[in-house]
């Protein structure tokens, strides 16, 4: 038979029609939907073996235990460790997103380390008799802090500085012992101490929060005392009066903005529903007096032993409070801001520098902190790249030792502050953590908690190498209870900063600026934290401020307006929102390093339209 062209066409035509009755072409059509999902530019998550690593979060003093879910070696999710004796499984929003920090667009990638070292040496040699070369350690108490102290003991004119701390020596607040807690604005439920520990203890105590703003802690407290801004000391005095004489003495009661009835009732509660604990941000002498009167010392405020250190380290420079250094005496200042407990306003630091040509070198992960004020900015690794220990938090009754074991490698070009500063004194700093661990092991007390097994083992039963290995894998050393703490002497806090003590408000600065979201000034935030700031109204974003509508009208600004916030330290641009929950006469402003430089925790201020 002859196959003609027509037959061919018929065959092809028939096949096409027949194919339409099969699933094939329809499947192809539906599959195009998948192609439209995967355009170029949409990243595809990498696949690989799922591993679990443990470490501790170094972004704040809590040092919560972290379980990292890793694809290969790359962490893709962080979580708390349930059942952990210190953090009880909690991890805050900042800690949950910390694995993004190595890729933060603001991070510093390079810096002139060699040049800086030379400049530092040169400047040290130029130091006059009353001048100093100092290290300002913004997270004192670490092993690295000991390295700095040891280095400054060897360096001529060397001084080791720590931020003003409310207590001399190691002191902890024991929330588990308290039945009534009076907090003067301490953010107890908003990042204070070890959040997991606070939550675990919360059921046991009644919380009275005394502060001008209805903060997150105030809204969750059992009682919120809306005192006038700056009236914390007055309230403390008034309560002390009630405890002593049965009623508050004027003028304190009137200054607080509360009724006598309210103050008396709080005082009675503290006295009769003990053990009591009075907390503050560390600025108010009257608060310690109150604690003394209530018998908190030794009960809810206890001494904490220091985590053991090698004997050879004890020949180190003493810890000097920044506030006690004479003004204008520091010629060379090295600031370790790679990890920060709290951001110190630059004015507190600047006044201590010599007026002519001081040298400031800062070790930072980004330009957001003191880099603006430094001559040399050296890039430091950021958690989870760092290898550092985290000192015990303020609510940790026992001494602890936990290492933030690195989850990822830091990029090339990073400067290790310990090694740099140790290098100035010829100290090898690389082994410091191992030496510390060995000293702890030698002391022979306490237990080792391992995350993987979720169990505690006495340190005596662990070999030194295994001890070190466990610490590197997220393990944590907890000291035994200190039976001998009875004789501890609690030092009164240093006098609060004079800037905040002016009694008559200056006419040109009629408002009180109170900062909130202070964590944002101290810890690096992942870009994903925009969920809480930019993409929702949950937290006040940096350089945003909230005003009472009446106050806003008086200042001539409205909702969403651009304005200038002015204090005696300078001014900054802010965006205003209205909130009738903010007291009149107050501007609630979100902290960032710039705002903290302007206001500190609170300051007299003025708001004018931009």
């Amino acid at each position: 038979m002859n196959t003609t062209r027509r037959d061919l066409f018929k065959f092809v035509g028939g096949s096409v029609v027949g194919a339409l009755f099969t699933p094939a072409p329809w499947r192809l059509v539906t599959d195009t939907a998948l192609w439209s999902e995967n355009w170029p530019g949409i990243p595809r998550p990498a696949r690989g073996e799922i591993r679990t690593k443990f470490t501790h979060c170094a972004l704040c003093p809590a040092g919560c235990a972290v379980r990292a879910r890793c694809v290969g070696d790359q962490p893709v999710a962080l979580a708390g460790v349930p059942g952990h004796p210190l953090s009880h499984g909690a991890l805050c929003a900042i800690g949950l997103t910390a694995h993004h920090l190595p890729y933060h667009p603001s991070r510093l990638k390079q810096g002139p380390a060699g040049e800086a070292a030379q400049a530092v040496s040169a400047a040290i040699s130029k130091c006059g008799p009353a001048q100093h070369a100092a290290v300002l350690d913004l997270r004192p108490g670490r092993t690295a802090s000991w390295t700095y102290r040891r280095a400054m003991a060897s360096v001529k004119h060397g001084l080791y500085l720590a931020p003003p701390s409310p207590f001399g020596g190691s002191v902890a607040f024991d929330l588990h012992q308290a039945k009534t807690v009076l907090s003067f604005g301490a953010p107890l439920l908003d990042g204070w101490g070890t959040p997991g520990n606070v939550i675990a203890a919360r059921e046991n105590f009644r919380l009275i929060q005394a502060e001008p703003l209805e903060s997150r802690t105030a809204s969750l407290a059992d009682l919120w005392l809306p005192i006038r801004p700056g009236a914390e000391e007055a309230l403390a005095q008034a309560i002390a009066n009630v405890l002593a004489d049965g009623k508050p003495r004027s003028p304190f009661a009137a200054q607080t903005g509360l009724t006598e009835q309210q103050i008396t009732s709080v005082a009675e509660e503290l006295a009769h529903n003990g053990p009591a604990l009075v907390l503050d941000g560390g600025q108010i002498p009257a608060v310690m007096e109150l604690n003394r009167r209530l018998g908190s010392l030794g009960r809810t405020i206890v001494a904490r032993r220091e985590t053991p250190v090698p004997e050879s380290w004890k020949k180190a420079a003493p810890v000097t409070n920044l506030a006690s250094v004479p003004d204008g005496s520091i010629r060379v200042l090295l600031i370790d801001e790679s990890v920060m407990d709290a951001y110190l306003p630059w004015s507190m630091i600047e006044r201590k520098l010599v007026p002519d040509d001081p040298l400031v070198v800062t070790f930072a992960w980004s330009r957001q902190g003191y880099a603006r004020h430094a001559q040399y900015v050296l890039p430091a690794a950021v958690y989870p790249e760092i290898f550092d220990d985290i000192p015990p938090a303020i609510d940790s009754v026992a001494a602890v030792f936990r290492i933030a074991a690195p989850l990822v490698e830091p990029p090339a070009g990073m400067v290790n502050p310990s090694e740099f500063i140790g290098g100035l004194a010829g100290l090898p700093a690389a082994d410091a953590l191992r030496q510390r661990a060995d000293a702890i092991h030698q002391a022979g007390r306490g237990t080792l908690f391992t995350c993987a097994g979720a169990k505690s083992v006495p340190v005596k039963e662990v070999k030194p190498d295994d001890f070190w290995k466990a610490l590197n894998e997220g393990g944590c050393w907890l000291d035994a209870v200190d039976e001998s703490g009875a004789g501890h002497r609690f030092l009164w806090p240093a006098n609060a900063d004079d800037e905040k003590r002016s009694s008559a408000p200056p006419e040109d600065l009629p408002l009180v600026a109170i900062t909130c979201e202070t964590r944002a000034a101290a810890a690096p935030l992942s870009p994903l934290m925009s969920k809480l700031y930019q993409e929702s109204n949950l937290r006040l974003a940096a350089n945003h401020a909230a005003l009472n509508p009446a106050t806003a009208r008086a200042c001539g600004v409205g909702e969403g307006a651009r304005a200038i916030l002015r204090t005696h330290c300078g001014s900054a641009q802010i965006e205003v929102s209205l909130d009738s929950g903010v007291p009149p006469g107050v501007v609630k402003v979100a902290a960032g390093p710039g705002i903290m430089d302007l206001c500190g925790a609170s300051a007299r201020a003025q708001v004018v339209p931009a």
Partner: protein, 426 residues
């Protein structure tokens, strides 16, 4: 120079003059296409719509334009099914308007969706419960019907008629006109209704939610009636506008009055139905959902004035004007009433799209406001420009108004009759 494309017996302005007319509209179209292009290329972040205002200017525009374009199907229904022969004078114009409205609406819809390339998904995975699926099917089918109805008008162009096959094709097509009118009416009934149903079924938005008949909420029927009411008004309005701009008589006053009467009648029915529906909604439907109706109107600027404006000022008033014969005869009143009727329907569509989304549903929601971005406005203006351009070209080269030639002859006759009276003065 394009004289041979213009129909015999009618005059159109000179080509340069025509170019002058279309130039600004072309520029507007270009700007609008650029705006739309930005939205397609860069994404919908170019607009001011957001997660609370999921619908904005474009959806409001779509709904309004489809309601106004309803003149196409309704005039066809009245002419071919109900045999109201006078409407032959405006049926072609109505078809062009309908075509322009529907094609413009679909074009804007393609820009409005996040993934225009997936537009065929609605046809591939249709959800029979979704009003929007119904709308999509019906308006695409109806656009096809309109295109088929436009074809004869196009083919009757003086030049194109010279092609014999076109003439034959057009003639054969004309036999189908009753079928097309019927299909068009059927489809329009459903999609006008479904557009109303879009909002009436939203149980999560008690401001828009209505009870109804079986699966169709009352807004389904209200939209059909309002579209049928405003369609003739819009035809009336556009015819008058074109007469004014072209300075020609295009349709007898009786035709406009008929359109007005039909519009007024349906508008009156609509106002009655809408009032009843609103009362039921205020007293039963909304309170049953836990939303007392008074609170909707406590959010500034949407006070009860908007309800009053929609139903009385732009509903009842134009209905009464168009129903009153002595007012209908006066062009000023008639045209104003038609314009108000159109505005009333636009207001109704606005209330259901924008106000529904502005109103909070959760107790801790804020009342939000929305203002379109320039890209959104540009895209909207592109549709307007496109409509004017298509209509302008259709008016120039096609016979949109069959009575134009007769009316022109009558005018000439009137002028000649006038002359003898004037001749003696000079």
């Amino acid at each position: 120079m394009d004289k041979e494309f213009i129909a015999r017996g009618v005059k159109r302005c000179s080509t340069p003059r025509f170019l002058l007319w279309i130039l600004p509209w072309l520029s507007l179209l270009a700007f609008g296409l650029y705006s739309a292009g930005l939205c397609l290329v860069k994404g919908l972040n170019q607009t001011n719509m957001d997660n609370r205002f999921a619908f904005g200017l474009w959806i409001f525009l779509d709904l309004t334009v489809i309601a106004l374009g309803a003149g196409a199907f309704f005039t066809g229904f009245l002419l071919y099914i109900l045999k109201l022969k006078e409407l032959r004078a405006v049926i072609n114009s109505a078809v062009v308007i309908g075509l322009v409205c529907y094609s413009g609406a679909i074009a804007v819809l393609m820009v409005d969706v996040g993934q225009p390339l997936r537009a065929w998904f609605t046809f591939w995975y249709p959800n029979v419960h979704s009003m929007l699926a119904e709308v999509t099917f019906c308006i695409t089918c109806y656009l096809t019907v309109l295109a088929i109805e436009y074809l004869p008008i196009l083919l009757r162009n003086r030049k194109l008629r010279e092609v014999p096959s076109f003439l034959v094709f057009e003639h054969e097509l004309h036999k189908l006109v009753y079928v097309l009118a019927g299909v068009g009416t059927f489809l329009s009934f459903f999609h006008q209704g479904s557009l109303g149903g879009l909002y009436g079924v939203l149980r999560g938005r008690p401001f828009a939610f209505r009870e109804g008949f079986l699966v169709w909420p009352s807004t389904f029927f209200l939209f059909i009636v309002s579209a049928a009411a405003v369609g003739p008004s819009f035809i009336l309005l556009t015819t008058w506008l074109v007469e004014k701009i072209s300075r020609k008589r295009l349709a007898r006053p009786a035709v406009l009055e008929l359109l007005g009467r039909i519009s007024g009648l349906l508008l009156a029915v609509y106002v009655l139905a809408k009032t009843m529906d609103t009362l039921i909604w205020i007293n039963r439907t909304s309170p049953d959902a836990g939303f007392p109706a008074a609170q909707y109107y406590a959010w500034r600027p949407f006070g009860t004035w908007i309800l009053f404006a929609e139903i009385v000022l732009f509903g009842l008033v134009p209905a009464l004007v168009m129903l009153a014969p002595w007012l209908r005869r006066r062009t000023g009143w008639l045209v104003s009433a038609a314009a108000m009727a159109c505005l009333g329907v636009a207001l109704n569509r606005f209330v259901l799209t924008v106000q529904t989304l502005a109103l909070p549903t959760l107790a801790f929601d804020k009342f939000l406001s929305y203002w379109p971005s320039w890209q959104e406005t540009g895209t909207f203006l592109a549709v307007v420009a496109y409509g004017v351009l298509v209509y302008s070209f259709s008016f120039r080269y096609l016979q949109l108004f069959p009575e134009e030639r007769e009316l022109k002859a009558e005018v000439r006759q009137e002028k000649e009759e006038e002359l003898p009276a004037m001749a003696g003065r000079y």
